[in-house]
Symmetry: C2
């Protein structure tokens, strides 16, 4: 999504050329290209599919909406398995229209996960619950902190349900480091994503994720925190940013790799 202006083959070939060993993919372009074709494209270039984004949106209160969401997540699990990734990122969903019941919505996420876990087990895919920044609590994700995500994940086996650490969503939280340690000790860090925090936030706040190094997040500190917690998986850079999307995608990807070296990698 960082370079959504690139087609899937352009993304894969540019990654391969730049020495980027894998990419997290999104469902829409994968389905448009064909799931098996996408899997073959990545495999032929020696690239890992680090995760599939995204399932979730499990907060519907009405049975029909809930069943649609469960079906969609089962489809996402099938897609993840076909792509050869072990991780499906879940964004929980926001409050149903007109609702003011955050606690109820959070509980429905747990109930839905309980239904999805057997399917995930059969597919060999992990459900990675991503807390989103509290500014998304109303309309996108009622799971707002790593502590909440872990409280949810811990009701299920660690090889099946874990969490996503995304610096953009948790950088402000002084409890986050301790929660990363808690997640690492339990083997529940299923994905690690980077974006920087820049201001002013744009209208709607979704597409304000900053290029690495442009903002106020100490990204290397976060990478070290994940290291210390025992995380050895891939590190994804996930930027939703209108300005980056308006530029040449290969150039943005090269810039992002350079920023990663400058602000994330190394001691």
């Amino acid at each position: 999504m960082t370079v959504r202006q690139l087609s899937l083959p352009e993304l894969a070939h540019t990654c391969a050329r730049l020495g980027i060993p894998g990419a997290g993919l999104w469902r829409e372009p994968v389905r448009a290209y064909g799931v098996r074709a996408a899997a073959g494209l990545m495999r032929d270039l020696g690239l890992t599919v680090t995760s599939l984004c995204r399932g979730g949106f499990l907060t519907a209160a009405d049975p029909a909406g809930r069943n649609r969401a469960l079906d969609d997540n089962r489809a996402a699990l099938d897609e993840a398995a076909a792509l050869g990734t072990d991780t499906l990122v879940l964004v929980s969903g926001g409050l149903p229209p007109g609702s003011r019941d955050l606690a109820g919505a959070r509980e429905r996420v747990v109930d839905a996960l309980a239904e999805l876990v057997p399917y995930a087990r059969a597919a060999g895919v992990r459900l990675a619950v991503e807390p989103l920044h509290p500014m998304f609590a109303a309309d996108r994700c009622v799971v707002s902190t790593l502590a909440q995500a872990l409280d949810i994940a811990e009701r299920f086996p660690p090889e099946r349900v874990g969490i996503v650490v995304d610096t953009y969503h948790v950088w402000w939280d002084e409890q986050a480091s301790a929660q990363v340690a808690r997640a690492g000790a339990a083997g529940r860090i299923h994905a690690f994503q980077l974006a920087d925090w820049t201001t002013p936030l744009p209208r709607g706040v979704l597409n304000g994720r900053g290029q690495l190094g442009d903002g106020c997040v100490d990204l290397r500190h976060w990478r070290r925190t994940l290291d210390t917690a025992g995380y050895r998986g891939p590190i994804e850079v996930e930027l939703f940013n209108e300005e980056l999307w308006s530029r040449d995608g290969a150039e943005v990807l090269a810039e992002t790799a350079a920023r990663f070296s400058e602000h994330v990698a190394g001691p």
Copy 2:
């Protein structure tokens, strides 16, 4: 600030006419009108000055910036005392330009409070630390949760340093209710402010505070939570909202009072 289109006399007379028993005032209009004149205006109409907004911005790392901030807060304490309010609301300030050190900025807030507390005691004014929503952590307020604000406040006597509960900033936080109880038991709830949460957030996110009832915050639940915690002080409605500012101020104030009755007051 909810009706900043009204002059101070217009605000005061409209409050009196509507039976609104007091108002939280902001420093800039008070100073423009004259602090003593403002105090007399409110007193003559039988209105309480519920709080003064705002001091704070205590995160500067350079000595000159820090001293300017301390001087400004001492002036704000003098103004609060002259207005006859016992509460100065503090917004801590964000990260200094170029800084990525949240923990350091938070520690400087504590250091600055330690310098201000004797002055506040002499002025007979309480310092009320307001946690702002985490979306403001970078550029406005490094204190993001009630737990953090209380951790800071508890280093000082409760009659001198407490916290502000603002529904807009804390509604998403599942720890907030417990923290309100903690604050209430310690006599540290120094102010209670209301706004609703509406989406989409506007660019810059500052002026998106929703009119009571327009959003997803269960305001009556929050008022009851404060009741249960023993809070008996004033309830302020603080809306920064371009649409409300563009309308007739007296009409907005009447609407706000009606919304308060509908969504906040009563069992």
